[in-house]
């Protein structure tokens, strides 16, 4: 096989390195972005933009430093830039709030992944019926109002139930992760 020219090879290698790093940290970055953007659609959009920005700037990335730290910085800048273009019908924090939230969020990556694991066990510990309800309420395209109407219940009752179960989950996650922190 003849050698491909060295430019292509370098590009391939760089691309490979980037994809590897990105794939490895993607879930973590998503959790990061998801902790300061209320809308899931915005998280999606931001991740696309951030990934693109990271690839463009990848040459500037110092291979000896931590990719995830660098990625959080790029994502934070992208979030601020994207904020100006975001759809107005969605709730987005104003610039000073967003900046502060994102900055602090970058220090909580470990906490986020601990919470994710905790959520897993909290969901499992829940009675089946409650878990089904939560999952149903969170199913894409499903609206609480519609669910409630179909079931002949008031949407207020539905919201109350969701609210109660969600805070139960949140408190369970907090109990598990904050406790773990104290005993460390």
């Amino acid at each position: 096989m003849s050698e491909p020219d060295s430019n292509t090879r370098d590009e391939d290698a760089r691309y490979e390195a980037f994809v590897r790093l990105f794939a490895h940290h993607e879930a973590e970055l998503r959790r990061f972005a998801g902790s300061f953007l209320p809308s899931w659609g915005d998280v999606d959009e931001l991740m696309q933009r951030a990934a693109l920005a990271m690839w463009r700037k990848f040459e500037q990335f110092d291979q000896d430093s931590q990719f995830i730290k660098w990625a959080c910085v790029v994502t934070r800048f992208e979030a601020l830039a994207y904020r100006r273009k975001m759809a107005r019908d969605r709730h987005v924090f104003r610039e000073d709030v967003l900046e502060l939230m994102a900055e602090e969020a970058a220090e909580e990556l470990e906490q986020r992944s601990a919470e994710r694991d905790a959520l897993e066990s909290c969901l499992l510990a829940m009675p089946e019926k409650q878990r089904t309800f939560v999952m149903l309420a969170y199913t894409p395209g499903v609206k609480i109002k519609e669910l409630a109407e179909e079931a002949g219940a008031t949407s207020a009752a539905f919201y109350m139930r969701l609210k109660r179960l969600r805070s139960q989950l949140l408190e369970c996650v907090e109990a598990k992760t904050l406790q773990a922190k104290e005993t460390r």
């Binding site: 502060l100 959520l119 395209g141």
Partner: protein, 567 residues
Amino acid sequence: MKEPRFDNLREEEREWIDALLNDEIDEPSFNELQQRLLQRPELRTVVRRSLALHHELQERAAETSDDSLHSWNEAAPHPEPDKIVPISATNDFRRFLPIAIAASLAFVFGLLFMSATNRDETNGSLAQTRPQTPPEDPEASAEGFAVVRNLFEARWPADQKALGEGESLGAETLRLEAGVAEIQFYSGATMVVEGPAEIAFKSAWEATCLEGAVRMRVPPAARGFRLHGPETEIVDLGTEFGLQVRDGAAHVEVIDGEISFKHRAEPERLVRKGGAWTLPVDANAQPGNQGQIAFPDAGNFSALAANRRRADFERWTRHRDTLAAKPDVIAYYTFDRVDPAALLASVAEPHNPELDGAVVLAETTAGRWPGMKQALEFRRPGSRVRVRIPGEFSAFTFAAWVRIDSLDRRYNALFMGDGYETGEPHWQIRDDGKLMLSVMVDDTRPNPHHAQDAGFHRVYYSPPIWEQSMSGQWMHLTSVFDPQRRQVTHHANGKRVSVQEIEEDYLIDTLRIGNGEIGNWGEPFRETPWFAIRNLNGRIDELVILDAALSESDIAQLYEDSRAGRP
């Protein structure tokens, strides 16, 4: 400062968070919340945690939602996200709400109106979007402890599923009518069985020969492997022995090394190379003569198997030549020759160099006939074959021989149109083993369910056709997009596993490919880089794309003609 916990927040702050998550917070409250966020670090911490949890739940629900529900969501018309459905529309609304949701609700509320809704005329559309055949028999795909390594002229009884090479065996009874099967246990022991035979598998370390002749080869690592006869337990202490059971009477011979056996209530006996014993059901063991029985010979068998493979491969080359000459073949890649410039030629006749693919990072490796045919492996995240396929088509059939090692990505690419523009296909496998085929219907029209998801399209899923215990096995996968019959079908190893209707709104009959990729998703940095890491951790040995909708029997035939290990 109090510990940052939800419970320690003020009442109104908890309310705001809840309204924010429900996307129902009003402007004044949202402003107040933001003001408070600037002042109170513990509130910021809890809000971040709440949002992260909220998104995590969204992601989980999207992934684990019942599939009929899921496919419904992608297929059916849906009210505008934020439009409130008027009360008077409740009856019409029934048509929109999937029965699956109704069923879940029935469960949640303990109301059983499932049977009533089943008679509902609106049920029809749901039934059509459901796969018509259930997922593969779970038994067949259960995690095993042995694998069928080779088959030679094997015939199976009519009431037993025919086994193929590479299939795993769990705790089950194998009946072989004729021919020879070589079984490799995960302990390292190898069993060669000649039919007619009936063998019960117990574990990687234990089996029972109920009928037939077997030869065991036990390497040092598998010493202690136990084989049972009708009244005898044989423990292999190394190397090779044979056991024959005919009409309940057993005969054992040690070919090499030694064994110990315990017959009925008799004391244990040690037998060395050359020893032979007859083991009647109703009497004591008696010394016998070696060479009384012709045990299947592993050496012979591998020579036969090699011959068979060669014949098989030659048959496949004839199949390839026939297929390559068919006029409706758009492109056909067999991956067995990658030229020095990393070009992969389409073998479709007449040869059109336009269709030659560029191999990027994918590595050539052994194909279905090691030593005779190559395949490409797409293990590295950047690996792919880039192709350009011009033209307009009226249907698509994608058929490939694929060896999946694991489904590492959420979506694992088989063949993907680059930009996913109108008329372009995406053929892939989701991490739960479901085949997916979709064609972009209109890339300028928003997707009604995912505002972020590019364009109007629908994904047609099969039931799971792969799971981890099938890792490393070659499989034939076929999916058909048939605008004329308005259906999408998925097939695994020649068998149809699902049929779904293409609804009016999702009908498109001018199909294109343009730039595309095998084993990954192309030009990732143009649009959505992170989403584009879809390399298939596995190998592809053959891929054909046709401008035709092959029928169920065409596909069964295609599978038969191209597969290895035929009787």
